[in-house]
């Protein structure tokens, strides 16, 4: 829950985007995006379809390198670095649509993420926290349900012991009960001190666990502020995202 005080920003935040512009081909998707995520902080990145949320994540990870601006992570300028190097610094990715290696088993999907970063998370510990995955360890991940795949996707990111998790639309395509379960897991992760940048179309859902929130529209940041404040201001959410918000 977002009742607690927001993490106090240290001298330099864990992640800082400054004036990031990113294109797909000749089409500019992100325009001058600046945002920060502090150590252990959960930050929601909200906006409509096509607002640039996923592109922001891809820019951070180096999958779609920015054309302009800088991405700083853990005190280093990582702009333009290849994705694998950024991942090895402890940036975990839980992508939209889970992106399982469908022909590989649950266990193999987890093994792929072991990239030498030591820490509290091991495959064994992931299995202890997500016992369902342990039961399904030999099953091909393409044959898991959507909720199971989402958990495997989160587990896969954890095995690499990330300091920052990029979580993209974790509720997409899942039944309400499963969404509750996924958010319960994210809330638990928050307690372990991992920072999370959470992209979500369902604003209220994300604001429940976020400390702060940014709203993107047309590739620009149009709002930044404490999550609790935004969550309490339904009119503002409606105005920013043009959505009728279920209460």
């Amino acid at each position: 829950m977002s009742d607690g005080p927001a993490a106090v920003p240290s001298a330099e935040p864990l992640l800082a985007l400054d004036g990031v512009c990113t294109n797909y081909g000749k089409i500019r998707i992100l325009r001058d995006v600046s945002l920060t995520v502090g150590e252990g902080e959960v930050v929601a990145l909200l906006g409509l379809n096509g607002a640039g949320k996923t592109t922001t994540m891809r820019s951070i990870l180096g999958l779609t390198p920015p054309r302009a601006g800088t991405v700083r992570y853990a005190g280093q300028n990582v702009t333009g670095w290849p994705a694998y190097k950024i991942a090895r610094l402890g940036v975990g990715y839980v992508p939209e649509g889970r992106r399982m290696f469908k022909d590989l088993s649950t266990l193999e999907n987890l093994q792929l993420a072991e990239n030498g970063r030591s820490g509290a998370w091991t495959i064994q510990r992931v299995f202890e926290h997500l016992p369902k995955l342990s039961e399904l360890r030999a099953r091909k991940s393409g044959r898991l349900s959507g909720g199971e795949q989402e958990m495997l996707s989160i587990g896969r990111a954890l095995v690499a012991n990330p300091r920052l998790l990029l979580v993209d639309e974790p509720s997409q395509g899942l039944a309400p009960l499963v969404v509750e379960e996924v958010y319960r897991i994210l809330a638990e992760l928050k307690k372990t001190g991992v920072a999370i940048l959470l992209v979500e179309q369902n604003a209220l859902l994300a604001l429940r666990i976020a400390d702060r929130a940014y709203v993107l529209d047309g590739g620009r940041v149009v709002h930044a502020g404490p999550a609790a404040e935004l969550a309490a201001d339904r009119d503002r959410i409606r105005m920013l995202m043009g959505l009728e918000v279920a209460t």
Binding site: L63, Y84, Y93, F101, E108, Q111, A113, N115, A160
Partner: protein, 290 residues
């Protein structure tokens, strides 16, 4: 006629194993990067010439059988890093044209170095002669070839399924970007994968030189059947390549026995029949062309 069927079937198996190992090399490269390596046959030829040069300078055949493919891997990885890699982001057509051009150049270079005609490359004495299997006798060298090719294919299967690197390689074939996002350097995967395919071509090249002869174009003779093998087996399936190779080998051997004039065309007939029944090939699933 009937008494020839046994040996001819075995011939078909050996031939099929050649097609399979070349097809597997092609598939490894094609599955991961979409590169259709038209120079694969030229790489095989080079392995044959390297082994020929080593053996004619007094190196034992056994050593050449390992050393020539290893030297070939070095050449292959250099080619991949400098010529193929810049084309990964373009359509497959570009790398197809580039490797085709490369094979034409290679052919001329082989002509300059080793002469336009075939060179004699015979297997060692220990493998000369025939083995008597009771019901038939069969050239020892061909039995040796069958054993080496089967061991090579089995070793590859173990590498892909039992090692960490093999796991990453299989994952990269499914989603290169995601494997990078999990901290794997995909450029290393590309280079090693290309080297693996070339290593298999190298082993096949040395053995084929001893069985089918060695000339500037000898490797290319195996390239077309290997492509047909990939299509029959199903794109993306290495196991399919093994089955496809053996089927084609058998088809060619048996038609050679009964209708010699049709031996060349038999694999295409087989391909047409398979594609009519299974448009993606015997074991093809999604296929790289959707």
């Amino acid at each position: 006629m009937i008494e020839h069927i046994g040996p001819q079937l075995f011939n078909g198996l050996v031939l099929g194993a050649f097609y399979a190992i070349v097809a597997i090399g092609l598939s490894l490269i094609m599955n991961l990067t979409g590169t259709i390596n038209m120079a694969h046959g030229s790489f095989m030829t080079l392995a044959g010439y390297l082994a020929f040069t080593l053996v004619s300078r007094g190196t034992p055949f056994w050593f050449a059988l390992i050393a020539a493919p290893l030297i070939l891997v070095v050449v292959g990885v250099v080619v991949e890093r400098t010529l193929v890699r810049p084309l990964y982001k373009r359509e497959p057509f570009y790398s197809l044209l580039m490797t085709f051009g490369l094979s034409l150049m290679a052919e001329e270079i082989y002509r300059l170095i080793w002469g336009p005609n075939g060179v004699p490359f015979s297997p060692p004495k220990a493998l000369a002669g025939a083995a008597h299997l009771g019901f038939m006798s069969f050239p020892t060298f061909r039995i040796f070839i069958a054993v080496v090719l089967v061991v090579a294919i089995a070793a590859l299967a173990l590498f892909l399924t039992r090692t960490r690197f093999g796991l990453r390689l299989r994952a990269a074939v499914q989603d290169t970007e995601m494997i990078a996002a999990l901290g794997t350097n995909t450029q290393v995967i590309y280079a090693v994968n290309f080297g693996l395919g070339i290593f298999l071509a190298g082993i096949a090249g040395v053995l084929a030189a001893g069985m089918l002869g060695l000339s500037p174009t000898s490797g290319n003779a195996l390239l077309m059947p290997a492509f047909v093998t990939v299509i029959i087996g199903g794109m993306g399936s290495l196991f399919g390549s093994v089955v496809g190779g053996v089927l084609i080998g058998m088809a060619i051997s048996l038609t050679t026995l009964f209708i010699p004039a049709a031996s060349e065309v038999s694999m295409y007939v087989l391909m047409a029949v398979v594609l009519l029944v299974r448009p993606r090939g015997l074991f093809g699933e999604e296929g790289i062309f959707g």
